[in-house]
Symmetry: C2
Subunit: 258 residues, 2 copies
């Protein structure tokens, strides 16, 4: 029998407003399509709707930029108020020029503009910041869905990621609850009994990428998906799981690329 | 109605030997599980079985390392014959020390050890090199499956990729035929009519990552999967599609990271 994993798009969530309850929207959207949750379903939710629900929309017309933000705004040719918001969510600036503003966020992600994003946000001057604590947001959504459905699920919050070395963006995991983000094959035998030394798979990032095959990026309005039938996932109740996906400079073998 | 994409693992392919016909093995494995191919199925095949079928297994006991290989072997503390094979498949060495050997392959991929790999290869001294021309290998598999089944499919050859910035590996695309690897949303409107400036999605890499949710990495022996129900794919007959995923240094916004 073939092993099958299904990616089920939830397209009845509709527009999410500040302080909406994302878990309830997901439960209702599944019900509207007669989808029953099952144990070990992984629910992937787009960062954008979590940011909205978490009250992370900011109108930049309310922002007074610092002198540092003004200086970086000049260097990068961006709006100083936008830079101010990016700085508030960053702990390190990695590149700042007219080509790109690459930072390490307070949560440790190396990404463009600290994830600050204008797309699919209403209002000319309104931007969405990343959730303040994406693992916690994921844990809250997980707990509410479990309480309502009686099923044990996992939740991944996915965002769009521009990568080194490769053209185009992929979805990746910024927060998760309920599953180990990494599968460690090291020390296991391959099909010829050879010990695997390097296989250490970023399962959570692969799930986030898979979800986008139904979620899309434009006006599709499919901001969540259920990944069903994943036999390889390892449930866990540990908090702060996204930290396991963060590679500091010292351990990063690509860091000597210049 | 929910949009559903299915990832179907083909677990009856068995062991692949040098010069086996991968397309026939895939057709037979699908038939054994009573899976009929459908138009627009994307078939993801692991690099390892394509390398085997393409005759890219090499016994390093037959290799005489060059002086350059010997010198790099010393710096990296690796077998000079292994280095020799890596050099033959590389056009640029990016990092070579005891931590890692990162190269740009002749086909343009930035990766560890030019993709040379020992896992799931029989024989203590036998290694698998990447396919010589992965796009061409994908095109051949595609053509044979289409001829045999009468369906229009796409083929992606996926390999394991250690990434900058993030812990763990993900599958990515080293060769493909039959679908555009990138979806370009730039210039399209979002749900509020805001023009998307940056969305440029590496669909092929997301499909490769999704396939691993059933394929695994150890001794699961599921070296191929069918991705079915993908509404966003754009068929094409262009050759050399993997080039569209390659980001040279000049365009790589992360390249100033040091």
């Amino acid at each position: 029998m073939a092993e099958v994993v299904s990616i089920i798009g939830l397209n009845r969530i509709g527009l999410v407003k500040p302080h909406d309850d994302v878990s309830q929207l997901i439960i209702d959207a599944a019900r509207a399509d007669q989808i029953e949750f099952m144990n070990h379903d992984v629910i992937v939710v787009s960062q954008k709707i979590v940011s909205k629900a978490d009250g992370r929309l900011v109108d930049i017309s309310t922002i007074r930029p610092s002198n540092r933000a003004k200086s970086i705004a000049k260097r990068t040719n961006k709006d100083a108020r936008v830079i101010e918001l990016i700085l508030r969510d960053s702990k390190e600036i990695i590149r700042a020029d007219r080509v790109a503003l690459v930072v390490r966020t307070r949560n440790g992600f190396v990404c463009l503009n600290a994830g600050l994003d204008k797309s699919n946000v209403q209002g000319q001057t309104v931007y969405a910041r990343l959730p303040n604590n994406p693992d916690k947001s994921a844990a809250i959504i997980k707990a509410k869905i479990e309480k309502s459905t009686g099923k044990e699920v996992a939740v991944i919050i996915a965002d769009t990621y521009s990568r080194p070395n490769r053209v185009g963006q992929v979805e990746y995991t910024i927060g998760l609850a309920g599953l180990e983000p990494i599968i460690d094959y090291r020390g296991q035998a391959d099909i010829f009994g050879y010990c695997l030394h390097y296989k250490y798979v970023a399962l959570a990032d692969e799930i986030a990428a898979a979800a986008e095959l139904v979620m899309g990026q434009g006006n599709e309005q499919i901001p969540a998906a259920i990944i069903r039938g994943l036999t390889r996932m390892q449930p866990t109740n540990s908090p702060g799981l996204s930290k396991k996906l963060l590679l500091g400079k010292k351990r990063d073998i690509f860091y000597s690329i210049t």
